[in-house]
Amino acid sequence: MLREFELDLPGDLQETLTRLPGGTPLAGGTNLLVDLRARREEAKRLVWLGNIEAFRDIKIDKAHVAIGGGTTVGDILRNSAMIDAAPSLVGAARVFGGQMVRNQATVAGNVCSGSPAADTVPPLLSLDAEICLASSTGVRSVPIDSFYSGFKKNQRKQDELITGLSWSVPGPSTANLFYKLARRKGDAITVVGVAVTVTRDGDRCSDARIALGAVAPTVFRAKDAEAMLTDQPLTEELIDEAARAAMAQSNPIDDIRASADYRRHTVHMLTRRLIGQAWRSLAGKEADK
């Protein structure tokens, strides 16, 4: 049974920000309402974000992407420019929940849910996204890489709202991929999520991102593995070594979905596979040049 709560329906952004102290933002409700019903969540007053103007706007130009704080996972899929502007995020959106949930669930809500299995977070980490936070006292921007501080802990202050997220459009020498490993193909909680970004400069990898979901208290970047790849030609051996390093950096738990051991194994397999795929796809592009 749903816990009782008050519901605020502020009319615009300014009013929303003044209502936030002591209140809990309500976006799609696909985490919040579920948690209230299961009594995992105690929020007494919810502040509905649905009246904020242009809150779902997506702006994509040649170099830059900015999505509003109310952008849903479905909005990501429906925007045809997104496939080049954030390939991994589109990949995650495709395997996110079911259609009804995708229509309702917001990217900001996913980021705030803080779940290590949140599917949009590895892609956003692999894209070096910035989170824009606003309160009635001001606005600030936090790189997503420094947003999470522990299990379901993050840098957002209680009265802050995520008003948007932004990142740079990957260039032609960059490949960006995501894979969700789960116990079934549709509508399932992620067992391991891997997002990678590989930028190629000639025969070398000039930059790499490896973001891992569901294998630690928060989604995180396997920076040891990234460093091993940077400024190197990516041989199969090196890719495998880096994937092993990613595995070593993960710190998964046993739960009813999978054992820690299996999660580590698949981090190794999937990181290796995605980096290899990304690298080879760029080799094709190099050859075309």
Binding site: I189, I256, A258
Partner: protein, 774 residues
């Protein structure tokens, strides 16, 4: 055995006008437009809302239960605890019919003292609103002293184990002895032994349990609810201590049953609360209530030891079966019997020895589930066939062909199967339908598998099963069918309409079927055991045929010909050799009415009746008949992650005669989905008897993204005991799917996972072990 079936159809040239056509079912439009009323859609003025308080501990002693705070809450109308109830039991049985000992420990309506499973009910609440009922639920105070429990069948059999069921935790045992297994093993060139394990699963019907009860002006307790079995009115009356005619169960269209609405669910609670409050009471389970509130599918451990000659003839089979019956007996002895009888599969084996036990634990009780023990049996015997083929290096399809029972053969219990056995045809067609193999790439391996089966339809023959149906023609020539059959989504009611339409010469549109009312519609028995079409269809057939006879005779005299010259079709009675000479059914019925022609018939169909099988040897007939068929799949397995993709899925079944082929496809497709979940992803996880995830976020039924397109191949031997030679397909369509998938995975990766579900993790582990052993 007195076989009362008169008309045994073979592949005769029968002209069918309504039967065998994919007609739009009578329930289709209402469901598609949302106008169908399910049990949960009914309300009444002044209705109260009920809730059940349950134990969150699997094994314990209820020390204290104090509902005073809850009772004091404004809006709470009644709280019932064991103190307030008659000391009667709450487990149903098919009384006196097993020849089995009945477990000495049975379930009480509400816990008095000992709690034996997670979710056992402690108190019933009725309140003015659902929210007040929820609050009252939280205000009831109780104290449970945990007691040592037992959660594994092996532990439950050990000396000194906690006794869940008096005296020794054994709630059922069956033996089958045929031939001489020692001799059979001596004749074998190879002996292959394997143990297979199946898991607890959930029925996961779309519609959780729900009902509405009221006591009417005659003092009758009426219960409108979602159930497979309106005949539980008798049991409710007994439990309440009122005469049987004072309880009435009315069904509604049911949103899925799969065996999970075969035992009682909400009806007893509703009856008690309606009687206590004298107001209408509604009880609707949430999904969480449903997960902990009804019995599950039995986990089984099944060991096959098979003797086989080098050219693939099976000479001996020993099977040891263990089922976890959970905390209460419910239908466990029968589920166990089905498993034992099914254990040899559709194969002719001369020397067989089967031993089976159902064992009580403090896990959730287990009971009926589509396939009813025979599905678990198939998981083992079809995996074993592939393991035998692999061990002796022989083609696995040829191995099956070599050993298949053929029409006229006897089962392991010595029952001669009189209908067609088309296992070979079904397998050949299913395999052909898989088409060209899909190419494998890199770490992804592709494999194929089949499973064939023998699955009964109709009840155990010593239950002396009967069904009734009433068919009448109105004075305007339209037709009404009345039968108690519950329609659990498979088109059970519509099929009766199609049968009546066929025999009375009208269209399905001209027939209205009234079903599922224990007081008003003639009782048809339950919609379980793949018996609804067979039994009720035969009753409707019989009633229609008698009525047809009268109409034909009357028309013949009106048309001045002999009755055998008259046929009924297209709303007319006409002379076969001179169709111009005809009269409309409307005129015929109206004329008949004015002449006092009886325009209705109530008929009873009786299944074959037998005595129970021999307790020591298990010899004797057990079921009326069997369905045979095959499911074939192709899978891709990612050997790095263990992920499985089912690429192709084909069901080919000899169902005797399809009454409505589209409805049959529905069963085959649904079976393919349910079986895929059973094979790959579905599992209820109990820790110390506690269900740790009563939610669809952890209990993973396949989604549309997980399913390939299903191909259905319908074979029609017209040799079954059902109407027009039909067999049954409800349970059979599920049975072979999981073993076919297991076999395909084993084919792809070269090693086998012996316990369901075959998760990616288990595949990775099996590959690693195979690697280490190599």
């Amino acid at each position: 055995m007195t076989d009362q079936t008169t008309a045994r159809h073979t592949e005769a040239n029968v002209v069918l006008r309504q039967v065998g056509k994919p007609l739009e079912r009578t329930d289709a439009e209402g469901k598609a437009t949302g106008r169908t009323r399910y049990a949960g859609d009914y309300t009444m003025p002044g209705m109260l809302h009920a809730k059940v308080l349950r134990s969150d501990i699997a094994s314990g002693k209820l020390k204290r239960l104090d509902a005073s705070k809850a009772r004091a809450l404004p809006g709470v109308t009644a709280i019932l605890t064991a103190e307030d109830l008659p000391d009667r039991l709450a487990a149903t049985d098919m009384p006196g019919q097993t020849g089995q000992k009945r477990a000495a420990t049975d379930r009480q309506i509400l816990v008095r003292e000992i709690i034996r499973h997670h979710g056992e009910p402690l108190a019933l609440i009725a309140a003015e609103t659902p929210a007040i009922a929820d609050k009252a639920h939280d205000l009831i105070e109780y104290e449970i002293e945990p007691l040592p429990g037992v959660y594994e069948t092996s532990a439950a059999l050990q000396a000194g184990a906690p006794v869940v069921t008096e005296p020794d935790n054994i709630v059922g045992e069956h033996k089958i002895r045929k031939g001489d297994t020692e001799k059979g093993f001596a004749e074998a060139d190879h002996i292959i032994e394997n143990t297979f394990h199946t898991q607890f699963i959930e029925h996961a019907f779309l519609e959780p349990e729900v009902g509405l009860a009221w006591v009417d002006e005659n003092g009758v307790i009426n219960i409108r609810m979602s159930t497979q079995v309106i005949e539980h009115f008798r049991f409710i009356a007994d439990a309440m201590g009122v005469p049987h005619n004072k309880v009435r169960i009315l069904g509604a269209m049911v949103g899925g049953g799969f065996g999970g609405k075969e035992d009682i669910t909400v009806e007893l609670y509703l009856a008690l609360l309606a009687q206590a409050t004298r107001r209408p009471v509604r009880l609707a389970y949430t999904r969480e209530d449903s997960f902990v509130g009804h019995g599950k599918r039995h986990p089984f451990d099944i060991t096959h030891k098979t003797g086989v000659t080098k050219d693939g003839k099976i000479t001996a089979l020993e099977v040891t079966i263990r089922a976890d019956s959970g905390a209460y007996v419910f239908l466990s002895p029968y589920v166990l019997l089905y498993c034992a009888v099914a254990a040899p599969g559709p194969y002719r084996i001369d020397n067989v020895k089967i031993d089976s036990k159902a064992i009580a634990t403090n896990n959730m009780y287990t009971s009926a589930f589509r396939g009813f023990g025979a599905a678990q049996a198939c998981v083992a015997y079809e995996a074993q066939m592939d393991e035998i083929a692999k061990a002796i290096s022989i083609d696995r399809f040829e191995l099956r062909r070599h050993n298949f029972m053929r029409t006229g053969d006897k089962t392991a219990t010595g029952q001669t199967v009189e209908s067609a056995i088309w296992s070979d045809k079904c397998m050949t067609q299913a395999l052909a339908a898989l088409g060209e193999p899909t190419n494998a790439e890199g770490p992804v391996k592709v494999g194929r598998g089949v499973a064939t089966y023998q699955q009964s339809y109709g009840r155990i023959t010593w239950f002396h099963d009967t069904a009734e149906a009433w068919v009448g023609i109105e004075v305007d020539g339209t037709v009404i069918v009345r039968s108690g059959v519950t329609d659990i989504g498979a088109g059970q009611a519509s099929a009766l309409g199609q049968i009546a339409a066929e025999l009375l010469g009208v269209g399905l549109d001209d027939v209205v079927v009234y079903n599922s009312d224990s007081a008003v519609t003639p009782l048809a028995g339950t919609t379980t055991a793949t018996r609804a079409l067979y039994m009720t269809g035969r009753a409707a057939h019989k009633a229609s045929e008698i009525l047809r006879g009268r109409l034909v005779e009357f028309a013949a005299s009106e048309l001045g010909v002999r009755p055998e010259d008259v046929d009924l079709a297209n709303g007319q009675a006409f002379v076969i050799d001179n169709p111009e000479s005809a009269m409309s059914l409307k005129d015929l019925a109206a004329r008949g009415a004015s002449e006092g022609l009886q325009r209705s018939e109530l008929a009873m169909f009786r299944a074959p009746f037998t005595d129970p099988i021999d307790e020591e040897t298990g010899q004797g007939p057990v079921f009326p008949d069997f369905t045979y068929g095959c499911h074939a799949v192709e899978v891709a397995v990612d050997t790095e992650t263990g992920e499985v993709t089912v690429l192709k899925s084909v069901g080919a079944h000899d169902i005797g005669q399809a009454i409505n082929p589209q409805a049959v496809e529905g069963q085959i497709e649904g079976g393919a989905l349910m079986g895929q979940g059973y094979a790959l992803s579905e599992e209820l996880i109990y820790q110390e008897g506690k269900l740790v995830s009563p939610s669809f976020s952890e209990y993973l039924i396949p989604t549309s993204m997980d399913m390939p397109e299903i191909k259905s191949i319908i074979l029609e031997s017209r040799s079954g005991l059902g109407p027009f030679g039909a067999k049954g397909i409800g349970e059979p369509s599920l049975t072979p799917v999981a073993p076919a998938i297991a076999n395909a995975i084993a084919d792809a990766i070269g090693t086998r996972v012996f316990d369901l579900p075959i998760t990616p993790e288990k595949i990775v582990r099996a590959l690693r072990e195979a690697d280490e052993n190599a």
